[in-house]
Structure formats: C-alpha cells, structure tokens
Amino acid sequence: MWRRIYSLIIKELLAILRDPKGRMTLIIPPVLQLVIFAFAMTMEVKNADIAIVNLDNGYWGSEIEAQIRAAAPFEDVYRLESVAQIRETIDAQRALAVVHIGQDFSRHIGAGEAADVQIILDGRKSNSAQIVNGYLANIIARVSAQAHGSPVIEPLRVRNWFNPNLEYDWFTVPGLIATITLLTTIIVTALSVARERELGTFDQLLVSPMRPLEIVVGKAAPGMIFGYIHGTFFIFVAAVIFKIPFSGSLPLLYASMFFYLSAVIGIGLFISAISATQQQAILGAFVFASPAVLLSGFMSPVENMPSWMQTLTLINPLRHFLVVAQGVFLKDLPALEVARNTGPLILIAAVTLPTAAWFFRKKTS
C-alpha cells in the first residue's frame, strides 16, 4: 500500500515540476501576490494631499498650518485663497481634506474664547478620511494646548501591544503565510484530478489496484508539500526581509498548518472531483478562493460582518488559520488558543477529504 502511494506521490510531483506551466503556477502567483499584498495592501495614510484655507492673519492660524505641513502623512499641503474653492478641490479629489480656519481665529484665542477649525473631508474614501481626521484633530489639540497654556487633555497614553508602531506589514506579511498557501494548495489540488480526467489517465488509475483513499493521499501530498514550502518561504520572508519579530512557537505553527492544509486540500480535491475539465477546476478554485480571502478577516475584520455572515465564516479554513498564523507570529499565541483554532480545521478536513474520495469513485463518466 505504501509503495503504491509513494509511486503516486512521486508521479504527481514530477507531473507538476516537469511541466513549465506547472512550475510557473508555483512561482509567479506567489511572488506577484507577495509584492502586491505586502506593499499595496495598507490601511495607513501616507502621501495624502491636504489643502488649507487660512483666512486668519494671526499667529495661531499659521501655527496650525505649519504643524500640518510638518506632519509626516501629508505630502502636498497647498493653500486655497477662498472658501469658494473648497468644493472644487474636494470634488475633483485634489485634496483628501480641506482645513478651514476662520477670519477671527487668533483674535478669539487671544480673548480666551473657544475657537474652531473646520475640517472638510472626502467621504468617498471613508477609511482614509477618518484616519486623516484623526491626525488633524491631534495636531489641533496640540495647538490648542499650547494656545491655552494648559497641560490638560494631553491625549491618553495608548500602548499598542504586539506591534508598538502599528506597522501594517506586521499584519499583512504573516497573514500571507495563510492566504498564499491557500491559493497555491487549492490550485495544485483542484487541477490534479481534472487534468487526469482531461487526459484520460484517471480511468487507468481507477482500474489499477489503488484504493480511493490511497488516491486521495497521493493527490493530497503535492498540495501539502508545496503548501509547506510556500509557508516556510513566507515565514522566512517575514522574519528576515520584513524583520517582523517571530515571537511564538514554530513547531506549533507547523503542526496547525498540517490541519489547515488538509482542510484546504479536501476542498481542492472535492472541486477537482466534480470538475470535468481543468477550466472548470480553475473557475471552481476561484469561486472558492475569493470569498475565502474576503471573508477571512484579512481584508476587513470578521467582527464587522453581519452576524449571519460571521457564522458562515466558520466553515472557512482561512479564517481560523489566519488567527493562528498572525497570533503565533506576533502574539506568542498559547498552545490552548492554537488548538482552539485548529479544531474547526480538523473538522473541515474530516468532512471534505472523505467526500472527495467518495466522489472519485462516483464520478466517472
């Protein structure tokens, strides 16, 4: 039995590695995704353009202007001459926000009265607008404290655990360990049976002494092997190139990854078993992978979803393993928590793998 499985595994690996197209699917998509995700995926605000309408001739108006110009997230800060220009500036997205300082601004402050600064933000970019508003409000609060000579309302001390400077890479790159292994594994396994069906070799395999379960093991191995290789590669990239501190237990991460990959492989083989052509298998993988990534907590937090959808995400292996990958990396996630998030993965694998095996036997045309 082992001899048969071993032969099948060797054959599967050779079939992928000897084919230039197969080698491409293993190398190009992960690298492309690494570049796009790691560099483009960010919720931070950098290089934002800001406009200022400063109708005040006094000191405090120009102080606010000066501090905004000095702030790091803003690239171009330019002046508007009149309030009338605000609409066009926002409408045409020449600036994300316009800071409007009224005529008697410094005079009010001099008189010890309350003064206000209007900030007009582009709501079409709700997330960035909100973050920019936070920065501007901080600057204004600081100026306010200077103006009134009071130490009060110094913003509360905030400590960010696990990622003191809230660097976005620290979130995305460990997350890639989970998402990219998902995409690699799903493609490799989804194509494996469909390819043989198209070539006509699958019948040959079924009439041989191989049992369906042996076929499943043999077909699962390449996905497992490449999943581990890619996973390891991204752990390495995260720790060495992005210099993200690895705080947890590597064996624990690898152990959990085994069940994660099994769950994904189960789904991949299931897609493969019901697809007649490679074309359908790719589409099937795509139809599975896009919701899996979107509803995993990687694009936006699971807790923001409606509750019925949160329940739905329980069958998404990526959702569970994302917690493990990010947690072990940054938070030194304890074994109990790893186990708690691995449990559902075991369950998913226990359902999908046997189902795939059953379909192998069932679906021969």
């Binding site: 048969r4 032969s7 099948l8 054959k11 084919d19 070539l199 002494p209 021969t364």
Partner: protein
C-alpha cells in the same frame, strides 16, 4: 485550361521546430477540378499541415502553393471567397443549433439573401438534416456533425472543397453516405480534397497524395500504386488454431513482404523478386501456409510495400511474459450487463464470455454502448442490471488486489505526458505494487522488448505516435495481467505499427492472456477470434469474423468485407426493429 491544374504545390517544406524533422518535406503535387484528391497517410504524416497551406491560413517555409495560378498566402482574400473548409474538429459551434450554424456561415460567406432559402433547403435535403434544424450541433451524432460541417462548407458553392479527416468518429454507414454525397458534388467546377488515414477510402479516390512522416510517397491514381503489387497477393487458410503461429513464421520469412490476419484467413504479400512470372506463389511460402489463392491487391498492400514491408514476425514479448495456466474457466464474463440513464438504455442485456488465450472484440459505431460495456466490466461504472466478472472477480466489489489481474490500455494511449518514458513505467510498476527489484527488472525488459531504451529519458508527450502506443502497452503489461483490455488500440497509427502491435498481442494469447478489444475500426475486428457487434446498446450479432461475413454472403456480394457485414447486419436489425 485543361492541362493547368487548379492547385499546384511546388516543393513545399514546413517546419514547426528547427530541431525536429520537417512536418512537410519538399512536397510536389497537383489538385485538379472534377475529381476527389485523397490526402492519405497515418496520423502525423502532415495531412492537416498541408490542408492549412492550401487554405492560405499557414505559409510554407520553402516553396509555394498556387491556387488558380496565384500564391495562396498572397491572395487569401480572394481565396477565402472560393473555398469551403471543414477542419478536423468540424468547425461547428456546438452550443448553437443546426440552423444557426448554417446562418452564421451563410452570412460570413456573404450568401445573398435571395438564394438563401433555396440553398438551405437543398443542403438540408442533401444532408438529410431537415428534421434536426432546431437541434444543438453538440447533440448531433458524429455522422450528422460531419454532414452539417459539410453543408456549412458547401454554402455558396465553393470551387475548392477541403475536408480534413471527415470520416473520423463516423460509423461505416454514415461514412458511406458521406462519401456518396461528396462524390455527387464533384464536377468540372469543383475540386475536392479529402484527407484520411483509412486506406480503403484512399482506394476510392480519383487521385491520391500518399504522405508518411512528412514525405510524399506517391502521387497519382491509387490504382497505379496498387498495380505495383499485382500478382503478389495471396490468401491462405491454415487451420484456425494455427493461424497465429503460421502468421508469425510467414512474417519471419524473407520471401514474404507482409502478412496479416483476416478473420480465418491470412493475407500474404510476397517479395517482388520472388514473384514467379506465371503468378504462382513461391514454394517456400506454400510450405508454411498451405494452399495459396491469388487475390487482387489492395491499396494497403501497396502502401506497406512502399514502406518496405511488414514487421518481423516474432515478438520478443513472448519471452518476456510468463505463461498463465488455463484452468478452463472463462477469463471474462458478462451476464446481462445493462446500463440505463433515465429512460435511455446505453447498454442492454449484453452477455459474452472470453476464454484464456482468446481475442474478443466489441465492434460498433461511436455511442453504440461499447465503452459503457467496457467500463462496467472494469468496475468504472455500476451496472443497472447484470454482472461482469474479470478473472473470476466482480471488479466493482472485489478487493483492490483483484484489479491487479487486469491490464488496461486507455484510448489514445493516455500516458503522463510530462513524465519521461522510464518515469511512466516506474509509476505504473509502483501502482501495481511490484517490489522494487522486480519493478527494475520488468522495466528493463519492457524497454528492451519495445525498443524504447533510447527514449528512456524523453517526455512521453514528445514521443512519436507509434512509440506512445508501445509505451502504453508496456505500462499495461508490467504486472503480467491475466486479462488485457484495449480501447481502440491502433486508431490512427500507420499500417506497419499496427501490424507490430498485433504481433505483440498474438504473442500474449500464446501465454493464455485473454484480450478484450473495443473498436469501431473494421480492420481491427479482423484480428479478433470472436466479435460481438454492438448497435444502439444491444448485441446484434456474435461470432468469428468469418461467421459474420458469411451471414450476409449472397450472390450480389460474394466476398463481403467486414464493413459490408457491419452495414448489412445493422440494416437487418433496423428492419427487424421497424417490423
């Protein structure tokens, strides 16, 4: 004008890769109006490449193709107004109906609206498709697809009709109809090119260009080639039990150029120099084969002779296989096998049994139920009723090891194209659970027997077709099965390779291996000991090839061919059904 041919092919060479031999190597030829020009050769001979050059869709690396005096690649706009082209894969839109396909091609070719109704009516009548105008092209049978493809190609009366393998995947009855239709079309204003791998079709063409591995072997009327072997073809009738041994001895004889089994008889082509002037066969051959009766030559005899004769008779495979013991029980048994899909019966009540050392053929057109029967026996499909046993096991329920008694060679020699020859063999030896030592030893033997040693490290997909076939057979025989299943084992290969293949199979029967063959190919059926003729899911006749032929012998058809038998038996079955 009479002397100027419609198409002149001048010294045309076409290469696809610089390191491979050319797909077409310095071809010269002529295609004239008013006749059917056959483009004849096995798969990979260069037929499709040549047709594409004629359409101007592809340009030659050297030489040129002149259509009506103009270079095909320079004038393809005018050219495309005068050709009707039916590519190998029909060129039909399978998601569209028959009428929609006709409409598309009518519009693309600019058929004037006024002529449309009459032209459609004519073509639908001609192709007998009028009843099916609303049906999706993908749901038509192979024969009907070809007729529709032909109808589309014929819109706007082309001056040049190019048909690329129109008879592939078509049952003999439709094949004859198609041929009659095309023959009826030929007149002084139309040239027809018909490409085919079937040599019996070549015989019926007015003119042939015979290609093999990119080279032109012969150009001219087929009878001219056939005449070269006149007086050298004989038929012998040794006792049925001995005919395979006799065949092998004949092929080993220097005096014999070629010999094949035709049912109970052996057809022999003797070497040129040995042919005695008065047409009597050489005595040495008579000694081996018994009484020899002279028969008229066929195109295939001449083709094999042109290629340098048939293969050596003895298969080295015989020494590489151990003999199975014959326990007298049937090796394969089908009892009332039935498969239904809804109210459609794909296979109904099919029964037969195969003895050890016997070659049994399931013969029938595509879609008749051969593959369904075959798959039920392998355990790939669950029968709705009935039971199939292979080597005493019901493979659907038997243990995995029981499946190790079966060798299986899938259609089109499905192998792992990315893997090398040796890796393919290693894989199958592992799957069949051969121990490492034994696997190594068997792989070496197979590489030697099938002459694959030089290809050991070559990816299977780059092998020539004949070698692919050998590798597929080698992979199916590594574990020395009791029973061998072959699905269309020699379709598309050249006649020499086909002869070699059957000499291997003959060697296996001597070792008590039972062989089940499915085929729609009449020539393959001739090699079988017994045939079951399957039509519309039922067995309509069973017996030796000669039984089947004798069943339809009549004063009009004194020497019926397998194809005649097939057509007549199907006709009778239809008549009975109608009654």
């Amino acid at each position: 004008m009479q002397n100027d041919p419609f198409i002149r092919i001048e010294n045309v060479t076409k290469r696809f890769a610089s390191n491979a031999p050319p797909a077409l190597d310095s071809i010269d030829g002529e295609i004239a109006t008013g006749r059917i020009t056959g483009l004849v050769g096995p798969d990979g001979a260069g037929k499709t490449t040549l047709i594409r050059l004629l359409t101007g869709l592809s340009r030659p690396d050297e030489g040129r193709v002149l259509v009506n005096g103009k270079d095909a690649t320079q004038s393809h706009n005018t050219l495309h107004r005068m050709i009707g082209y039916m590519p190998q894969k029909f060129g039909l839109y399978e998601d569209l109906t028959v009428q929609e396909n006709l409409d598309i091609y009518a519009n693309l070719k600019g058929l004037p609206a006024a002529e449309r109704q009459t032209t459609f009516a004519e073509l639908l009548e001609f192709t007998d498709l009028a009843r099916f105008t609303g049906r999706l092209a993908g749901a038509l049978s192979g024969g009907m697809k070809q007729k529709l493809g032909l109808a589309c190609a014929l819109l706007k009366r082309p001056r040049l009709l190019l048909l690329d393998e129109p008879s592939v995947g078509v049952d003999p009855i439709s094949r004859r109809e198609l041929w009659r239709m095309v023959q009826g079309l030929v007149n002084e204003s139309m040239a027809v090119v018909w490409s085919t791998a079937y040599l019996d079709e070549a015989e019926r063409c007015n003119h042939v260009l015979l290609l093999n591995e990119g080279k032109l072997l012969f150009a001219g009327p087929p009878a001219e080639l056939t005449r070269r072997v006149e007086g050298r073809v004989f038929v012998a009738k040794p006792s049925p039990a001995e005919r395979r041994t006799v065949l092998s001895r004949l092929l080993g004889d220097n005096l014999v150029s070629d010999a094949i089994i035709l049912g109970d008889a052996i057809r022999i082509l003797v070497q040129d120099k040995t042919s005695v002037a008065d047409g009597a066969p050489p005595p040495a051959v008579v000694e081996v084969a018994g009484v020899l009766e002279p028969v008229p030559p066929r195109f295939e005899d001449a083709f094999v002779d042109a290629l340098g004769g048939g293969p050596e008779g003895s298969s080295p495979l015989a020494d590489a296989m151990t003999s199975h013991t014959d326990d007298g029980r049937p090796a394969v048994e089908a009892r009332g096998l039935t498969k239904r899909y809804g109210d459609f019966t794909a296979a109904g009540d099919i029964s037969f049994s195969i003895k050890r050392g016997e070659i049994f053929g399931l013969l029938g057109p595509n879609g008749a139920g051969k593959s369904t029967t075959f798959k039920m026996l392998c355990g790939l499909l669950t029968p709705s009723e009935g039971e199939g046993r292979v080597a005493g096991f019901d493979l659907r329920t038997a243990t995995a090891d029981a499946r190790g008694r079966l060798g299986y060679m899938a259609q089109k020699f499905s192998l792992y194209g990315e893997l090398s020859v040796a890796q393919n063999l290693e894989f199958f030896s592992g799957v069949y659970g051969l121990s490492r030592n034994r696997a190594r030893q068997r792989i070496e033997t197979m590489l030697e027997v099938f002459d694959l040693e030089n290809y050991r490290r070559i990816s299977a997909k780059t092998l020539p077709l004949g070698f692919k076939q050998r590798l597929a057979l080698a992979a199916a025989l590594l574990h020395e099965p009791d029973v061998l299943f072959l699905d269309e084992p020699t379709s598309g290969v050249d006649p020499i390779t086909r002869r070699e293949f059957w000499s291997h199979i003959n060697a296996l029967t001597a070792k008590n291996v039972a062989v089940l063959v499915t085929t729609h190919f009449m020539e393959e059926a001739e090699y079988c000991d017994r045939i079951s003729l399957i039509y519309r899911g039922r067995t309509i006749s069973e017996g030796t090839p000669d039984d089947l032929k004798n069943a339809i012998r009549s004063p009009e058809t004194e020497a019926p061919t397998m194809e005649d038998a097939f057509i007549e038996l199907v006709r009778r079955s239809d008549a009975k059904e109608a009654a």
